[in-house]
């Protein structure tokens, strides 16, 4: 790989051990994919709570504050978990506090969200933003036209430390054309909610081999943001899709021809009523109708989603625990609208946590004997991870069905009438 003089100094250990180890990792990864060189990044995004402490210490050893911006994924909140009476919260305090202290020394921003485009931190078309978190990788690539390659959480820390990333994969324009085409087969989407788009994305992700770019054809143009986001972020849950074009909605897909680069797709995936019905069934993993927890905000809620949940909860009380994963700034806006108060009066809770993999109510290693044994969610991604990581029963349905479940403690969700 061709390195600049500055990069050679970084690799030679002239700065500090953290930079040396980080660039060594980037060079090795780049060379294994025949990358010609490293390129500067627009900004970086990491997860300190998901990084093992030993790795975090090795990669940040001696590293001074970086000149480029770095942001972070949802974080743990063990002090708040304690306030909520979750028995094993104490186990999480020490490591979290140590890593957070170092994070702040580096001058990095405490965005603590998997949806930081909602905070006004989003890439422009063509910006190079290496990051951990497959959900924001696919959102930034697809919805904003950023250049984000598939990348692991540990490697994203190395890229953030160095301000560089290997020139490979989806950073190269020729690799961004869709090779897999999705066509809707006699599906009327007129009455679809966000949850229906989650279900469609989950099916598609499962059908695409590896992380080949996909294009979805046949949806209404200028799809609302919440719907487009739900569709693309569900794909890397059931598979590894990192770039998904939507014809008429996403920036690299004004037409089908532009999304495919005028090439014949390697595979056409057809989605009809049967596929939607089977996927909806597959996302529902439960035996009796008792609901103990309701999770919203995977990915972190938009202000519109919070507004809809508040309207449904107005004057009501919940029987289950109800968690909304949202970034602090979006929660602050919800508070100014009066929506946060409505939700909290009903018994709902806000936290900038990952409500799926890191949901404190469904994780036995946080909630201990208070772990919820069943959870309802409007997100396919959340359903997948709450079931597999938390090992609890999962109900998948619309926002309205989930709010009703929170109020009654019973699941009355129905299979949609696919038209």
């Amino acid at each position: 790989m061709l390195l600049t003089d500055e990069e050679k100094r970084m690799l030679g250990g002239e700065y500090c051990p953290g930079i040396q180890r980080s660039i060594d990792l980037l060079v090795k990864l780049g060379e294994s994919f025949d990358a010609e060189r490293l390129v500067p990044i627009s900004y970086g995004h990491i997860s300190y709570d998901f990084s093992p402490e030993e790795f975090w210490d090795l990669m940040t050893e001696g590293v001074p504050p970086t000149p480029h911006r770095v942001t972070t994924h949802p974080s743990n909140s063990p002090e708040i978990w304690k306030e909520w009476g979750l028995p094993l919260a104490d186990n999480w305090v020490g490591e979290h506090e140590r890593k957070l202290k170092r994070y702040k020394e580096l001058g990095w921003l405490r965005t603590e969200t998997c949806a930081e485009y909602l905070l006004g931190i989003f890439p422009r078309k063509g910006d190079i933003v290496p990051m951990g978190g497959s959900c924001m990788q696919v959102a930034n690539n697809s919805l904003f036209g950023a250049k984000v390659d598939r990348m692991g959480v540990l490697v994203s820390l190395a890229a953030a430390v160095c301000g560089r990333t290997p020139l490979m994969g989806l950073l190269l324009p020729e690799n961004r054309f869709a090779s897999h085409l999705v066509e809707l087969d006699d599906l009327d989407v007129t009455d679809w909610t966000m949850t229906h788009y989650h279900c469609l994305g989950y099916y598609i992700g499962d059908q695409v081999p590896g992380f080949k770019p996909v294009v979805v054809n046949g949806l209404p143009p200028r799809l609302p943001f919440d719907y487009a986001r739900a569709l693309v972020i569900s794909m890397p849950t059931s598979g590894a899709v990192t770039l998904a074009h939507i014809v008429g909605t996403t920036p690299e897909a004004p037409t089908l021809e532009e999304a495919t680069g005028d090439k014949r797709p390697e595979q056409v995936i057809r989605v009809g009523k049967r596929e939607m019905r089977e996927t909806w069934e597959r996302l529902n993993v439960w035996e009796d109708d008792t609901v103990e927890h309701v999770a919203f905000g995977c990915p972190h809620s938009t202000i519109d989603e919070i507004g809809r949940i508040a309207a449904l909860l107005e004057g009501k009380k919940v029987k289950t625990t109800l968690l909304i994963g949202a970034s602090a700034p979006v929660e602050a806006l919800a508070r100014r609208q009066g929506w946060a108060d409505t939700i909290e009066k009903a018994g709902g809770l806000f936290l900038p946590v990952c409500p799926s993999i890191g949901n404190p109510f469904t994780r036995a290693d946080i909630a201990g004997d208070k772990q919820a044994k069943s959870a309802a969610t409007n997100s396919a991604r959340s359903a997948h991870y709450i079931a597999s990581v938390g090992g609890v029963k999962v109900f998948f349905g619309t926002e309205e069905e989930c709010v009703n479940a929170a109020i009654t403690g019973r699941w009355k969700g129905k299979m949609p009438k696919w038209k």
Binding site: K28, P52, G152, P236, A240
Partner: protein, 150 residues
């Protein structure tokens, strides 16, 4: 050396086979092969506590990857596969080496950060030629896979 084949016939075992491949992650290792014709995710498929495949209904559910040469198609799943691999490695619960048809950046990053020797793009179809139980040597630095095939 003689071995009893699938249909009760006595078959001769052939001499050593060598296949060239492309280095993903440096190092040399050897062990018993475990061959799986599908993709793999360190996060979700492998228990870092036991080293066993823990994904419910997985074809290899309950089988150990520890000290094996794991042969499969490609990587898949969460970008957290690398920290899951790190946790498994700390417990000594990772394969000795990895051979896959075509790697992807999360799998490659996981192997490089945790120091698991790995190769991909083998010149011959390793999923057919290597059998579970074969003794396999992987020299990732030289890009060579060696095993006793039949």
């Amino acid at each position: 050396m003689r071995q009893r084949g699938h249909h009760g016939k006595v078959e001769r075992k052939n001499a050593k086979m060598e296949i060239r491949a492309h280095m993903v992650s440096a190092g040399k290792a050897e062990g018993e092969a475990l061959v799986y014709n599908g993709p793999f995710a360190f996060l979700g498929d492998l228990s870092p506590v036991t080293g066993l495949i823990c994904m419910p209904r997985h074809k290899l559910e309950g089988q150990s990857l520890v000290k094996k040469v794991f042969v499969f198609t490609t990587g898949k799943g969460s970008s957290g596969c690398d920290f899951a691999a790190w946790a498994a490695k700390k417990n000594g619960n990772v394969p000795a080496a990895i051979i896959c048809l075509e790697s992807e950046p999360v799998l490659s990053g996981a192997c490089i950060t945790t120091g698991i020797p790995a190769v991909d793009r083998p010149e011959k179809n390793v999923l057919e030629l290597i059998k579970t139980g074969n003794h396999v040597r992987v020299d990732a630095d030289a890009g060579i896979i060696e095993f006793e095939g039949k």
